[in-house]
Amino acid sequence: MALPVHIEALDKAFSGIGVDEKSLISILTNSNEEHKRSLRKGSSKLFIEDENGFERWDQSSIKILKHQFNRFRDAVVLSLLHPWERDARLIEKAIRKGPKHYNVIVEVACTRSSDQLLGARKAYHSLFHHSIEEHLTHIKGRERKLLVALVSAYRYEGTGVNEDVAKSEAQILYEAINNGDKNKLLDHEDAIMILATRSKQHLQALYRHYSQSYGKTLAQDLEGEGILKDTVECLCTPQTYFTRVLEAAVKEDADEESKRALTRVIVTQKEQLVQEGFVPNKIQDILLGLYKDFLLASIASGDIK
């Protein structure tokens, strides 16, 4: 007979992000048929009573389980891939999967260095026999222009910002957001040009001028504006963006895509997170098993030399 504590443990082994492999081994390997039957009967999350008199595995939970078991694999693969191939594949997948994933394209285009982004574009040629810009043609929505512009950028990375220009361009953005039709922001040519061609230093100066001149941040003013807000955050305040993505991943009601972001962010931002002294307080409790070990070890300081 399975004790309640076993049933609880079984549920718990699947109830986070990742899978508690050790717990499963200890519960199942010593479990005889009798024991397993009572596990199944006791686990309302995983099994349902079939009319033909057996406990059937609930269809939707099989799917979730598949995701859970794949997390460690995905973390390993993502971690080992050459960054160029990794980023090219992230972009290609995001294009294929649709609007809810466009933030990944923004994330890659805006948080990598200019040469890393170039590398991703080259890898994309090799892998998919098209340029990223060509595949973005498949996007029919208004986001396309911004996305094409962002992935095509080869931003200057030196110091030296013309503060006057930064200030006047902050004003252009302010007026585009506040005086114009907010729905048409993605079509606002000047705004797109500024965001897609200026250096990150310049945009960060612009961000400062915006706050100083208008009493609110550019990101705040773009609240609800989806990838436009993501763009600004990734370029000007990437820490804020990544923190937001990580926290969304571990929320109660997080969907699968949000959870996957956990792997992507931790693996791709590993260096930065370590440098910033990122402490995974908010996320570690919900992580399980090898997946947890992998992610937490990734961001503990100290590389293999």
Binding site: E133, S152, Y154, A196
Partner: protein, 314 residues
């Protein structure tokens, strides 16, 4: 094919010494400069600069800039630079003009290979502390700006694959746009700036097959439209760059007075690429050898350098 005539054996040290000798003392021995630099490829020219710097602790380019003048100096300066650096300079000059030379930006972004264009973008940043696309964006406006920024930012797939379905549908799109004169600029820009060159050629061929005339012919006409003025060279450069260069040369010579900027630019940038083919096209079109036309229209050391780059024997 290239036109410059490079000897089999080259000693960059001897070259550096020869150039030093040509610049020392009263006056300059321009002939010596031409006879060395005019017969060296990009790699050799770079090595000569390094050797010169090593030997004389001086930048050869700066020395030449101070010794030479006029069209000759401009031509030597452009010739001696690395191709990517040269294109960056040409682009910057074109952008900064009061009325920017859009066609030069088109030329550079559409006739160089994808890798070459990347190199230009890097060289531009190193020189001007801005990205090429941000300077283009800052000095142009409207749909012309959209087209130019898209063209300089492109990193086209370099492969041979062609999708005939896409060629078909995009030939239609281009035809609609051209026919209506109410150009759907967005679609034109998208097609011309993202597709691979092979794909675009297939599209242009399809256009010609479907409508009995080339797309460039359909675009001729009123030159008032700013966008059209940039669109035409774009399509010409993508469709048939050699034919495009022949036309630029023809126009630069034909005009009352010569457009030295254009003449220098085409000869210097194509001498190591396909100037030979362009010369043949020129002869076919004009029944006069290009060398002859250039000799008739230019003079002095400038003329001597151009003819050397055109492959004329000394």
């Amino acid at each position: 094919m290239a036109t410059i005539d490079v000897p089999e054996q080259v000693s960059v040290l001897a070259d550096a010494e020869a150039l030093r000798k040509a610049c020392k003392g009263w006056g300059t021995d321009e002939k010596a400069i031409i006879s060395v630099l005019g017969h060296r490829n990009a790699v050799q020219r770079k090595q000569i600069r390094l050797a010169y710097e090593d030997l004389y602790q001086e930048d050869l380019i700066k020395r030449l800039e101070s010794e030479l003048s006029g069209d000759f100096e401009e031509a030597v300066y452009r010739w001696i630079l690395d191709p990517a650096d040269r294109d960056a300079v040409l682009a910057n000059v074109a952008i900064k003009k009061l009325s920017p030379d859009h066609h030069v930006i088109v030329e550079i972004s559409c006739t160089r290979s994808p890798e070459e264009l990347l190199a230009v973008r890097r060289a531009y940043q190193a020189r001007y502390k801005h990205s090429l696309e941000e300077d283009v964006a800052a000095h142009t406006k409207g749909d012309t700006r959209k087209l130019l920024v898209a063209l300089v930012s492109a990193f086209r797939y370099d492969g041979e694959e062609i999708n005939t379905r896409v060629a078909n549908s995009e030939a239609k799109v281009l035809h609609e746009a051209v026919k209506d004169k109410e150009f759907n600029h967005e679609e034109i820009i998208r097609i011309l700036s993202t597709r691979s060159k092979m794909q675009l050629m297939a599209t242009f061929n399809r256009y010609r097959d479907d409508h009995g005339t080339t797309i460039t012919k359909n675009l001729e006409g009123d030159s008032g439209d700013e966008f059209l003025k940039t669109l035409r060279p774009t399509i010409r450069c993508l469709n048939d760059p050699k034919k495009y260069f022949e036309k630029v040369l023809r126009n630069s010579i034909r005009r009352v007075g010569t457009d030295e900027d254009a003449l220098t630019r085409v000869i210097v940038t194509r001498a190591e690429k396909d100037l030979k083919d362009v010369k043949e096209l020129y002869y076919k079109r004009n029944s006069v050898p290009l060398d002859q036309a250039v000799a008739k229209d230019t003079s002095g050391d400038y003329k001597a350098l151009l003819l050397t780059l055109l492959g004329k024997e000394d």
